[in-house]
Amino acid sequence: MSGPAASTATSTETSTTTPRKRRSIGWLLLLPGALWLAAFFVTPLVQLVATSLYDPNGSVEAGYAMTWSWGNYTEALDFYSEPFIRGFVYAGIATVLCLLIGYPLAYAIVFKAGRWKNLMLVLVIAPFFTSFLVRTLAWKLILADNGFVVSTFKTLGLVDDDGRLLATGFAVVAGLTYNFLPFMVLPLYASLERLDHRLIEAAGDLYASPAQGFRKVTLPLSMPGVVAGTLLTFIPSAGDFINSQLLGDTNQTMIGNSIQTLFEAGSYPAASALSVTLMALIIVMVAIYIRRAGTEELL
């Protein structure tokens, strides 16, 4: 009799200790990440939201009083709706351009590059070896009024004789597209690379022409890459100020520039209110976008 009794005892013991131990290991593994997030994400975020509600009449030197000034928000929206809209439009156009350039590029790297695949991937990432700022400055030189791009465009009649490229919306969108293209290409590459080539063959076997096969199989299966790529392009573009500052018209800035200017002028509450609004708008847009793209189950 003692045998079965003993084994029952040990089995209840293991069944109570094992899950508890498992759970505590799970929490332990979460801890470093959670601490990191608390220190470097939650704290600044709370500070940012708090600052956006400070008394706008304070100053860095005199300090700010917490007055729950919701007026900061209405003012921000009143004064800065134009750069908001312009920022989103520029970011939107740049994202679409990145997709139009990046998809064929990623597709070619995965399916057509053969042994050049790795080299092409390195070339896509190559710009990261130089600083973002330096590369954007280089574009300033390339698009300069006396540069060869403008003179070539003038000869071709693409630009009026007294027209220019620098300090236009075109230059800003071009700069954004250039700077964020790798963020589009890499997720697209990853999702196309993962795609089982035999599915494309199966589509062909089932009477799909190459174009139909692309539309019905390749494209839907690469949607996670499209969604990830567009988010990684759109979100940083929408908040970017470098491209607009270096390549754009100072009277037609993006919202990033407005925030930067306000911070530099010491108007912290207004700048914070703009930042929080920008963040909220982006979150709403992204949520709607992901819902519409219907890729939750593919992600």
């Binding site: 089982d196 063959e201 199966a202 589509a203 062909g204 076997d205 089932l206 009477y207 019905k216």
Partner: protein
């Protein structure tokens, strides 16, 4: 089942077909990868409506052959004809041929219903619900129409792959080891199911497998393929009873191959000298006219008699039993011949005779009409299952 089966009767019996009506014909079909010929000048005719098996070991070129028929691989040489029409260069999506892929290749983002409807939609059919419903009930998956492939078991996915191909009513259905991923029990079950479906729809099935038992139970014609060429083609019975190469003799079942010489002819029989024993084999079972040969006898065709028992058939002389393994329905003996070779003999456990023991002396006999004589130039171990 609501499928149109009006032409199934004629199609189920390939013999009654008008020659070439819907036959699949491969003419000196060749595929080279670099200078390696994966498929080497293959000639093959698959009669319309046949359940045809392409049987061969791994890497012998079965998939490559199918891919050329499906249009997924461009032949280096030769032609593919379907019902007399040259389709060698037709695009895959323009061929009346569908494939059940080795890996199923179901579209993971589409429901089962949409997977099955895929081919019809691409052909511009809008009334797909009826046919898809019929097809899903044929493969007994009506209740799964709304699911995604990842939510099905391996056997269910296999049936979806079959339904997705069959719904297009192709002239030829290519099946590339469709049962390879299934466990033995499910595999046996699916074999019967496939056979039932094929008889029902009357479509030509070209079934690729490296499982000889699968090929023999399912197909009405088998082509045994080895190293890019067809070794022999015929009904399962014909291939098993009268193999023409050592590869077929060993790959389909097992064979005892004895070093022998042709010593002459006697009426309809050829007289063969097998290590001193004169045996007679019907001429239509002999592949060579003279010189050195392999005399082949299947283990279950070998009869171990007590020495001195009177007989009228062929005898290879006396031997000593070296191993006895009892496997229930039969007993498998290993006997050592006078010249040192070990032969296998399987005997049904009918109970009519007592089971013999190791070291017993026996006489090895067989009926000449059950033996076969092969060219000695071939490797006697070709096609032997090494494990």
């Amino acid at each position: 089942m609501t499928l149109d089966t009006t032409d199934a009767d004629g199609a189920a019996d390939p013999g009654t077909d008008v020659a070439g009506a819907g036959d699949l014909e491969l003419r000196s079909l060749t595929k080279r990868f670099g200078d390696y010929a994966a498929v080497n000048s293959l000639d093959l005719t698959v009669p319309a409506g046949a359940f045809f098996a392409l049987l061969g070991p791994s890497g012998c070129g079965k998939t490559t052959t199918l891919r050329m028929v499906a249009g997924l691989e461009v032949p280096s040489d030769g032609e593919v004809l379907l019902g007399g029409v040259d389709i060698t260069w037709a695009k895959p999506y323009k061929r009346p041929v569908n494939t059940v892929f080795q890996s199923y290749a179901l579209f993971p983002h589409l429901t089962i219903h949409e997977n099955v409807a895929f081919g019809l939609r691409r052909q511009g059919r809008s009334d797909v619900n009826g046919p898809v419903g019929d097809m899903l009930s044929l493969v007994e998956l009506e209740d799964f129409a709304g699911r995604k492939p990842a939510q099905l078991s391996g056997g269910q996915q296999q049936r979806v792959a079959l339904a997705r191909a069959l719904i297009n009513e192709p002239k030829v259905l290519l099946l590339d080891e469709p049962l390879g991923a299934l466990d033995l029990k499910l595999r046996r079950q699916m074999q019967l199911e496939l056979k039932r479906i094929q008889l029902g729809v009357g479509v030509t099935f070209v079934h690729v497998t490296h499982d000889q038992e699968e090929a023999m139970t399912m197909a009405d014609t088998i082509a045994v393929m080895n190293a890019g060429v067809i070794e022999q083609m015929g009904s399962p019975n014909e291939l098993y009873e009268n193999p023409r190469t050592t590869f077929v003799a060993n790959f389909l079942g097992q064979s005892n191959l004895v070093d022998a010489d042709i010593s002459g002819r006697d009426g309809d029989d050829v007289v063969v000298d097998a290590q001193g024993a004169k045996v007679r084999i019907p001429a239509d079972r002999v592949q060579v006219n003279d010189g050195k040969v392999w005399l082949g006898v299947r283990p279950e065709k070998v009869f171990l008699a007590s020495t001195g028992e009177p007989h009228t058939g062929n005898s290879l002389g006396t031997a000593r039993i070296v191993d006895v393994s009892f496997v229930g329905v039969s007993t498998q003996y290993l006997v050592r011949m006078g010249w040192g070779q070990e032969l296998m003999a399987f005997e049904q456990n009918t109970g009519a005779r007592p089971i013999m023991r190791s070291a017993d002396e026996v006489e090895v006999r067989f009926n000449g009409a059950h033996a076969f004589v092969l060219d000695h130039a071939q490797d006697a171990r070709a096609g032997v299952d090494e494990d």
